[in-house]
């Protein structure tokens, strides 16, 4: 069975940044790293592949829709144990960070690869759409479960646990092919060792253009759910009253506040 694992290289703003008058951000303010959730979905795929009783072959394929910033993330996935990597990019996709548009691209990849299981992250730590995976399942008309905290192979299907709001857990059965969105904490993602990092260099990795997937840029833009008008600074109007000074002064003030509030 083939398991497809879509991964995202996420952008964060760590230091200072400025927005220009039109509400756009200078891309030099961005830092790139692998999406926290995707390490868990890849680990889940690797564990499923490893636990399969001999006989059935598994292939774990990672895919990202990204410019060259995505390469590093794919290399890390190969070093972790993925068998093959795909990157889809077209310059016309620059700035497209819309879950429905990305899902449309991933759907074309999935139609080509025909996986038995797709494992997405619940969400990406930069945009937190929590939507790409389930949108993809909708386009492919696949059974799916969102926010999965445990997976077990169960005959020809899967038994999974889904995390509900409030901390309850629902146990569900579904058949394959299927798509799951994976929650952090489901497993302990492995770290790649040096040998694996070296080995990764010889694993197959390909870059596809939209035309290779018979997709048109206008198709992708049209299915995008929203358009970003501008970026705004976060309002801090009601922000916290800040306690200044060394740790000693901060601790003193905290003791004072806690004592007052608990007495009141």
């Amino acid at each position: 069975m083939k398991i497809l694992v879509p991964v995202k290289q996420v952008a964060s703003i760590d230091g200072d940044f400025t927005l220009d008058g039109a509400g756009e951000l200078d891309p030099r303010a961005l830092h790139w790293q692998a999406n926290e959730w995707d390490a868990f979905s890849l680990e889940a795929a690797l564990q499923l592949a490893e636990s399969s009783s001999a006989g059935e072959g598994f292939e774990v394929v990672v895919v990202t829709v990204a410019d060259e910033h995505g390469e590093e993330g794919l290399r890390a996935c190969l070093a972790m144990g993925a068998d093959r990597a795909l990157r889809v990019w077209d310059p016309a996709l620059a700035g497209v960070d819309d879950p429905l548009a990305i899902a449309a691209v991933l759907a074309a990849v999935a139609r080509r690869e025909d996986p038995g299981l797709i494992l997405c992250g619940v969400q990406s730590s930069d945009s937190a759409n929590a939507a790409t995976g389930v949108a993809l399942a909708g386009l492919l008309e696949l059974p799916r479960v969102a926010v999965v905290t445990a997976i077990e192979q169960d005959g020809g299907g899967l038994t999974v646990q889904r995390e509900l709001d409030g901390g309850a857990v629902e146990v569900l059965r579904l058949s394959l092919p299927a798509l799951l969105t994976i929650q952090t904490g489901i497993n302990e993602p492995r770290r790649a060792n040096l040998r694996a990092i070296k080995l990764a260099r010889s694993k197959p990795s390909a870059t596809l253009a939209l035309s290779d997937l018979d997709l048109d840029v206008s198709d992708v833009r049209e299915v995008a759910g929203a358009r970003t008008v501008r970026l705004l600074e976060r309002g801090r109007g009601e922000g916290a009253s800040m306690i200044e000074g060394p740790a000693e002064a901060i601790a003193g003030r905290i003791v004072e506040l806690v004592t007052r509030e608990l007495r009141a």
């Binding site: 929203a226 916290a240 901060i250």
Partner: protein, 328 residues
Amino acid sequence: MSGGVLVLGEIGDDGLRPSTLELIAAGLELADGGAGRVAVALIGADAPAHVQAVSVAGVEEVILAAPERERFEAHVWEAALGALIEARRPAVVLAGHTADSLGFAPAVAARLRLGFASDVTWVAWEQGGPLARRGAYGERLIAELDFPAKETVLLLLRPGACGARADADAGAGGTGASARISRVELDLDGVARTERIELREAPAGEVDIAKADFLLSIGRGVGGGERIGELERLARLMGATLSGSGPLVEAGLLSRARKVGQSGRTVAPRVYLALGISGAAPHVAGMSKARTIIAVNSDPGARIFDVAHYGAVADLFEVAAELERQLS
């Protein structure tokens, strides 16, 4: 109905979720802005029991669908919402950004090529269409979105963020006075694609953090756990109950009963002292109602400072050591 706002009520195993009233309030605000009439859709066998509660002044219609479904199943809800949208062609559909919605709403949006945004924290009707805001870059910034050329826009609203009128108008529950009730027949036979085996309630655990007056709550800023003992000791010394963020529970450093947030407990203590917690939305969802929130974080841009009443940019261990010294 073509045009107008369709609010999707959320009914859980525990009844009508309070976020439904916020969605209605947000819908009424859009209507005030010119979006048209507000209808509320309730899906599932339990729906008729909640008609009264959602019949808030201003809601013109309550639509009941899928009476044969006892409880939530993502594919049935997907089919039901899709059919409702195709039948009514609303301008805006509002649902909650909740664990249930995340299992089907994006699929509806993708299949029907709707306008779509999730985790929306602000919405308004402007120049003939909705305008929405949500976080960007880990909520360092806010993105403002519009939806050109989309006949229907599906928005998932973050619980607690939109619908400011919820408390005033809807909080007391509806009057049932003026809303028209209609039923939509949908053929949902064989649509379900998952089978529920079991529902496990949240474990009671060794402590009820929701009852504590004073929570000392720790996040990933405490690092790998080597120094968690220092904070347990500090909590005892301060007379606080220890709680924390999701990642600490996942790492096995805290029990599940001590998790604060969307998938943990909702707490409202007199004092919530947050050490090394960034203030991600799912965490804040569980603690924003605390009476006094004090946050210590080494990052001046941390979002926890947006909800905290008092904040200090500092190393949590230095502050903890000072607290211990001053209190011993």
